[in-house]
């Protein structure tokens, strides 16, 4: 599928009725009145979503498998994994730890699992049970996934810590960086209109 069929849309942001023309590969349709991105033809979006979801989830497992960071100061040395540091936070402040865990691991992971599941349905041309729910869930989760903000948070913290202790980044830190990049690539290839149209076009199992 290299072309997207023409369709009538109502602009999400200004309510203008727009006849979106046929979109060739890499074409984007913007609202003529408020310039909202109405639809985009991103070639092989389903395949990319599937591939990057699997990649991102793999990196997330790796990010939890090795040392995330090592600190040493005045002869004391400390190496922690991502989960260990979330655990430390849980002991100090349960709600705060909950918010951090949800936005940096829980939400992105469920979003990726949902998008991966939807794209498997599309690749098989069979609507697996719960595909609709998975797609709806993933799209609802989009604004609450904050892995990229967490990365900036890590960088800011490191600059603060460097003044106090020697910091060494572990393998898991780099895995988390690649996880975030893959997650961004999944999100970039999401087009509501196209995903729903395709999910509704494939038949039930």
């Amino acid at each position: 599928m290299s072309q997207l069929e023409p369709s009538r849309m109502v602009c999400h942001e200004c309510d203008l009725l727009v006849d979106v023309p046929l979109l060739k590969a890499h074409d984007k349709a913007f609202c003529p009145r408020c310039e909202y991105l109405l639809a985009a033809n991103r070639p092989n979006a389903t395949e990319k979503i599937l591939a990057f979801s699997v990649t991102a989830l793999t990196f997330l497992v790796l990010a939890n498998s090795f040392a995330f960071i090592s600190l040493s100061a005045s002869g004391q040395e400390q190496t922690v994994t991502l989960i260990e540091s979330v655990n430390v936070l849980f002991e100090q402040h349960v709600l705060l730890a909950g918010i951090v865990f949800a936005t940096i691991i829980g939400v992105p992971a469920s979003l990726l699992a949902g998008m991966g599941y939807v794209s498997i349905s599309l690749r098989l041309s069979k609507r697996l049970p719960g595909t609709h729910r998975a797609l709806r869930w993933s799209l609802h989760m989009l604004p609450w996934s904050m892995a990229e903000i967490f990365l900036i948070g890590i960088l800011v913290s490191f600059i603060k810590i460097v003044a106090l202790a020697r910091v060494e980044l572990g393998a898991s830190f780099w895995a988390y960086v690649f996880f975030t990049v893959s997650l961004m690539l999944v999100i970039l290839n999401i087009d509501r209109r196209e995903l729903w149209r395709q999910v509704n076009a494939v038949s039930n199992v």
Binding site: H12, L16, S74, V86, L89, V156, K160
Partner: protein
Amino acid sequence: MSEIANGHSLPTGRAARVQGCTMCTAVSHIDAEHCEDCGAHLHGRWANSIEKTWAWLITSVILYIPANTLPIMYTRFLGNETPNTILGGVVTLWHHGSYPIAAIIFIASVFVPIGKIIILSWLCISVQLKSPLARRHKTLLYRVTEVVGRWSMVDVFVVGILAALIQLGNIMTILPGPAALAFAAMVVTTMLAAISFDTRLIWALNAQRNTHDRE
């Protein structure tokens, strides 16, 4: 900049008695309650959008007070415990010469949330006053707040990371303070305020003044 450049007015969904689904973008009749394509509830964002946005905005302003007055973290250094507020931290960083970090924290924790609250309040007021001016700019401002607003969470993550990592026994320990949660809740409520705001209301006046767009 005018969309009416070609001399005829464009119909809106409302004028054509249709609505777009916020979940899947499919077009349904304006009275339909559920989307035929994805089953989502079509509650017509028009209803109560401004009231909901105000409610979330007021909540976030209230949360912003403890977020700034209470300590966001405690630093325990050689037995002495010092509370740190957001602004105090920015000032300390600035005095220590960490200008970029001080700037990042100031922008993420003070400038962005306040800017977001002011912009969304102004958008709500201008919709309530039925002001047809600068609609394109208002829409653009809304998009900027929607994209930038989430980045305020940076400070919450920094506190979380420092508290989780700086556990060097007697030498130095960092603990999260009550302001961290208040601040996180403030970011979440401003995000909910932005999500509740229906940008179509900015443009709704067009339905009444079809041909003369005062951009």
